[in-house]
């Protein structure tokens, strides 16, 4: 088993776990963590692709590495916004749940 294959399997496993967690866990904080796990899995696959593309004597294909930095920044910003909204929701409603339906008439 090559290192690339190992990382490929690990990345796919993370994605699978994350989607499972996203579906079964009702709490928004858990969903947010699952999304971050999903992101980590995808970013790992970027690393694998970069390694696999290292045919021209380079240590790795630089393009996926550049992409993954942008991806991490985006995921970080999304997490920051979500945590901000979550805190605000907790402050306003007392609970941080997205399950309650609109109970207004």
């Amino acid at each position: 088993m090559t290192a690339a294959l190992l990382f490929w399997l690990a990345g796919s496993g993370l994605i699978g776990l994350a989607v499972y967690g996203l579906i079964v866990n009702p709490h928004p904080l858990c969903k947010l963590l699952a999304l971050n796990l999903l992101g980590s899995g995808v970013f790992l696959l970027f690393g694998v692709i970069a390694r696999r593309g290292a045919a021209a004597g380079l240590g790795g294909d630089p393009v996926p590495q550049a992409l993954v930095i942008t991806g991490i920044v985006v995921a970080f910003s999304a997490t920051a916004i979500a945590v901000g909204l979550l805190l605000r929701l907790h402050g306003e409603a007392g609970v941080a749940s997205i399950d309650e339906e609109d109970d207004a008439p």
């Binding site: 999903l38 692709i49 393009v63 992409l67 991806g71 909204l85 929701l89």
Partner: protein, 501 residues
């Protein structure tokens, strides 16, 4: 696997306009943050006016040369660099978004003012900067030809839309924004997963190069699947529609108008760009039936849920869920092997539906916002007295509704008629039935609201007065949707400029 080189395309005359369309709102945004909220409205107004001129110029250039505008950023050709490219549909969407953003800004002019002598309100600064960010992100989505660059545009659009949803505060809207964000991030992660598979298989992210080499192998099909599901989550197609109604109903009226008219179209545009221009040969008719089926379910379930709503803004938001469904018929109705006329009819019908819905829904959300302002609530049961107090608002709502129902003459009629003709010509009678049923259901919910608006006012209800200017903006947007019905019912050549054969 080494790729054979494609013919290199250089920047065309006027290509720099595309850079201006993307960068100028971003620069204005930085100026907004630097100069603070006092001059916010002036900066936004100037930026959106320039945007209108740029979009009109791009459309005229594309129409004049019958060829797409191209700009190779920094002179670096793909696969190293990124090429911006505006074909017919990009130019169309740039114009539509510039007009609707300008109308929304004019509508929100007073609501998000910064009066002198009072402490600066953060909310209005947030609203205006979100509007500029959306302008930039939409133009990037409409013109970029690099899959990762498109991802960045998609994310910018989401991050600009979230604050607009949450801007009113209150647990309900914050919850809606959070749910929207979770769906959107899930969608973008799946999109990114698809991108990495495509890069692994083809070694490039430029759409034209992928289109030239695409083969239906396992990696490509999996990538197409991930990208599609991710974008469906962002477009709020059934069954991913749950986030949309509370999010769009909770935003301020001008925000709802932009969200429903433009923001959901951003990811839809990307989806069409992918299936028609990036992997055109993967578009197997039987697989595309699945997208049409989801679209059909969206039409039926969205319309029925809209009928059952008790709040006007939620009704309008559910109607968006239904109207988005129509646009997904294009994936099966533009087959790779059908005659040009039928495929062209379906293609034109789908884009007319995108544009007519954008104008009608923007007009309808603005009208709904005015209704809420006049009555102090938006409960459909208690809309009585509106037609006497504010006939223009009722008229704007009615004309927008005409286009949503698909009654002639309106853009919605032309769009749905052309989709219907294509569906019947290709033997998809099931989709034809759905198109007609969706119109009937839309009629039911629009007329239901209108009859309440025409009723006598309940005793002891005080109705507020709203400015005539804002009523005219809502009416103007609705009238654009109406006047689109005067277009000839035949394929429009402009929409095929610059597309792959």
């Amino acid at each position: 696997m080494p790729l054979e080189a494609l013919p290199v395309t250089d920047s065309t005359a006027g290509g720099a306009l595309l850079v201006l369309a993307i960068v100028m709102p971003a620069v204005a945004l930085v100026a907004l943050l630097g100069l603070g909220g006092r001059g916010a409205r002036t900066i936004v107004a100037a930026a959106l006016l320039v945007q209108l001129l740029v979009a009109a110029r791009v459309a005229l250039l594309v129409a004049g040369t019958q060829a797409p505008l191209v700009y190779v950023v920094g002179g670096f050709h793909p696969p190293l660099g990124i090429t911006l490219r505006a074909d017919g549909i990009s130019a169309l969407m740039m114009v539509v978004s510039a007009v609707i953003l300008a109308a929304a800004a004019a509508f929100a002019w007073k609501d998000f003012a910064q009066p002198r002598g009072k402490p600066e309100a953060r909310l209005s600064l947030i609203f205006w900067s979100a509007l500029l960010a959306m302008t930039s992100a939409l133009n990037l989505l409409f013109t970029s030809t690099d899959l990762f660059n498109l991802y960045v545009g998609l994310e910018l659009l989401t991050f600009a839309a979230i604050p607009v949803v949450a801007i009113k505060g209150g647990a309900e809207t914050v919850r809606a924004a959070l749910r929207y964000l979770l769906f959107a991030v899930f969608g973008s992660m799946l999109y990114l997963l698809g991108i990495v598979l495509i890069y692994g298989a083809y070694g490039t992210l430029a759409t034209a190069e992928i289109a030239a080499h695409v083969t239906p192998n396992a990696a490509t099909l999996a990538a197409a699947g991930f990208v599609t599901v991710g974008l469906l989550a962002k477009t709020a197609l059934f069954p991913f529609h749950l986030w949309l109604p509370p999010a769009h109903a909770g935003a301020p009226a001008a925000g709802s108008a932009v969200l429903s008219a433009l923001v959901v179209k951003g990811s839809l545009f990307l989806l069409m760009r992918l299936w028609f221009d990036t992997f055109p040969t993967l578009r197997a008719p039987d697989d595309m039936q699945l997208l049409a089926l989801l679209g059909a379910l969206a039409v039926i379930i969205g319309s029925i849920t809209a009928l059952r709503q008790q709040r006007l803004k939620l009704l309008v938001a559910y109607s968006t869920v239904a109207q988005i469904g129509y646009m997904f018929f294009v994936f099966t109705l533009v087959p790779t092997d059908a005659g040009d006329v039928i495929a062209g009819t379906a293609w034109t019908g789908a884009w007319l539906q995108v544009v007519a819905h954008a104008f009608a829904k923007a007009g309808m959300f603005l009208a709904a916002g005015l209704v809420a302002e006049i009555l102090g609530h938006d409960r459909i049961r208690e809309l009585g007295g509106l037609s006497a107090k504010a006939p223009l608002v009722v008229l704007a709502f009615a004309i927008s509704g005409l286009s949503l129902m698909g009654l002639p003459p309106s853009g919605g009629f032309s769009a749905k008629f052309m989709l219907l003709v294509a569906a019947l010509a290709e033997g998809h009678w099931l989709w034809a039935i759905v198109i007609i049923a969706g119109g009937v259901l839309a009629g039911a919910y629009v007329f239901g609201v209108l009859s309440r608006m025409m009723a006598a006012p309940a005793a002891g209800v005080e109705l507020a007065t709203v400015g005539r200017g804002r009523q005219l903006i809502a009416l103007g947007l609705a009238l654009v949707a109406l006047l689109m019905g005067l277009l000839p019912l035949s394929p429009i050549a402009f929409l095929t400029i610059g597309r792959l054969p």
